[in-house]
Symmetry: C2
Subunit: 412 residues, 2 copies
């Protein structure tokens, strides 16, 4: 019998779905399970997106150009200009969701065996893309005590090798919600320029920054033309995760051209969903104002409730719709499974993502979880009622050690 | 400045689109250019597909399961059962078009540096997928004089090395239209079993076989459970190329599981287009009867017209909607460019795909072209009027040598 490839065997189970079988079992038992594990918002998709598809005049649902339809690329150009991002029509390659933009960027910028530096905790699925592209992720570690700010540049310098080709960031960050400052981004670009590295910037959550903050796009940095590759998607921006439309945007024409050849390989992005995306690009900025206000209220609720739970460490996420919190538990994955198998409050419980799936360094994140505040405030409050009670009842509860002690223990 | 990866530099220009800039220039000059270069049928997409999307009750366009929606996988199971293909629900992984099924199959079945054997001429885009997956295509050559039948097994045996992991076929074939017999497929599976290879079978054109013939699915072969991976798509089946929905189907659960992990990486296939695909799976078999009759008429017209042109060699394609013909020209790519730049008949011309893009062995296919009979019969006839006249006028016309001489010249 032929054997599955090593990379096939190495592919990780999605960290957001690790506990799914237990959640399904709990639901079969009639429990309500609040899904805080995955970034699937309950926010309505703007009706204009679906209306555009409904009224589209399509007789033959034929191929589109490999870089996306001209009309959608024009709309995207206008969208980027409004967002203060100097991306032009020719810089934009429409992709099948942000996923494909990530894959194409790794294939285009790195050779097999090359290295990309990422600050952990990071979007766990990057690991899968790295395996698919045959490249290695090298990590520097961001710390919960610093609110997961950019680690010192010296930490990046320390792990650069002759195989390093890129730094990959997610800004605002999934999973931490941290929003990089312009100063941090400038410093990072400086590092990339000194070492001839690409700066790959996943900006899926651009519009969702709170307390009046604004995300800085890496593509808007001075002097980044040759280095920056923007990875984008409409999934979160318009609560349209099922519409698989994203973009790879770069002002480096050689990178664009090579990525475009990978795009020709799969012929074109989904055509009906590009029609939806095109309608989305016309939405007024009030759409973002309203949606941001809702997410901010959810974030405020999340932080307030978590901080009220004894032993929980919770930074204030500045953007996206996630928080990585440290819980007073022996092991967050065991706790997550226990929540689904052994706990209920009024026949309700919650599903979370153990944060170990967001770290590459073994042992890190063992007490941390990622929570996605993507459900309405009533359900969110109920989920936190469950979590608060569960933390009191959980047999593996540990009293939190001082932060310095925890770090030392992990390092040992 | 950072340098694009070697694989990015190696990615080929799509062979169907090589002449596109010349076609665009010709159209700007007001010429009518009949597109026989790409498999984009003008057949209407069945209205039921689009109607299903229009009437779908979607409030939040959320993620679907990574393997596709349960309802669509159930419909696909029923479709395969009706087609006599023993694929069950658990064997089916819905992919983002056939493209993704090809990529996932290569990633799952081969390690970087491994080899896959393909009979040339083959769907040129396989080259791009092989580069993306870091694997090598090794060819055996099918010949126009044999109607592009399966080359002798001894030719396959001769190129097997310790790195060979799979044989990839396209049946019915793009670009040749050849339909493999059950005996050929059984022999090929036997070879795969003896050498512990996967048999990857791209069956995008299953329904379109002519003269009453039926395509045999590799998945229906006796004893193929562990070896066969079916690569499928709705693009051609329902003239829905822009709906990026395909499938990877295998009865080998380890292959399925690994491919599924690659599927989790990109979270899910396009959701609106899965709704269309689900409606398509309910179409009655009369849909295929009618569409097949139309393609058969186009094929008959194509073969009749090509064979009437002095010096043209044209096998009778048994399926799909392509033919590879040999023309009495010095170089088919030069001729294709000349057609667009220097020729018109009543201000009309045609675009074709030079067949060198479908061969890996340098020099092969230099006088051959792939023609896609995907446009209506009136236009098709007009395109062949152009081709007939062009072959008479073309300055690089060569009188055809006897086949044996041509083969010897190519081999030298």
């Amino acid at each position: 019998m032929p054997v599955v490839s090593q990379r096939g065997q190495d592919m990780p189970v999605s960290p957001f779905r690790k506990l799914l079988p237990y959640a399904e079992a709990a639901r079969r038992q009639g429990k309500t399970v609040y899904p805080l594990n995955i970034g699937q918002p309950d926010v309505l998709t703007p009706p204009a997106l679906l209306e555009a598809v409904r009224t589209a005049d399509v007789a033959v649902l034929g191929y589109a150009p490999g870089a996306g339809t001209e009309s959608y690329r024009r709309k995207l150009e206008a969208y980027y200009q409004r967002a203060g991002i100097p991306a032009r029509y020719d810089d934009i390659l429409v992709t099948t969701a942000g996923s494909e933009a990530i894959l194409f960027a790794l294939l285009t910028c790195l050779n097999p065996g090359d290295e990309v530096i990422i600050a952990e905790p990071f979007y766990g699925t990057y690991t899968a893309f790295a395996i698919a592209a045959g490249v290695h992720i090298v990590t520097v570690t961001a710390h919960i005590e610093d609110g997961f700010a950019l680690p010192p540049l010296a930490d990046f310098e320390a792990v650069i090798t002759p195989r390093t080709r890129a730094v990959l960031i997610c800004n605002p960050s999934n999973p931490t919600g941290y929003v990089y400052t312009r100063a941090e981004l400038d410093a990072l670009l400086g590092l990339c320029k000194r070492h001839d590295l690409y700066l790959l910037s996943d900006e899926a959550y651009r519009e969702y920054c709170y307390d009046g903050a604004q995300a800085t796009s890496a593509l808007s940095l001075e002097g980044g033309e040759e280095h920056v590759v923007l990875l984008d998607t409409i999934s979160k921006r318009y609560s349209a995760c099922g519409a698989r439309v994203g973009a790879l945007v770069t002002r480096n024409p050689e990178v664009w051209q090579a990525a475009f050849h990978f795009g020709q390989m799969r012929i074109c992005p989904p055509v009906l969903e590009m029609i939806a995306a095109e309608a989305a690009a016309d939405l007024p900025s009030t759409y973002f104002d309203e949606t941001r206000a809702e997410y901010q209220a959810r974030r405020d609720l999340t932080v307030r409730r978590l901080r009220a739970m004894p032993g929980v460490t919770c930074p204030v996420p500045g953007g996206a719709f996630y928080v990585v919190a440290r819980l007073p538990v022996d092991d967050a994955e065991t706790f997550g499974q226990w929540l689904l198998e052994d706990f209920t409050l009024n026949n309700q419980t919650l599903m979370l993502s153990p944060a170990n799936g967001f770290y590459q360094t073994p042992g890190l994140g063992r007490q941390e979880v990622r929570l996605a505040y993507v459900i309405n405030q009533t359900d969110l409050a109920a989920a936190f009622d469950c979590l608060a009670q569960a933390l009191l009842e959980y047999p593996g509860r540990v009293e939190p050690a001082p932060a310095a002690f925890v770090e030392a223990a992990i390092a040992s």
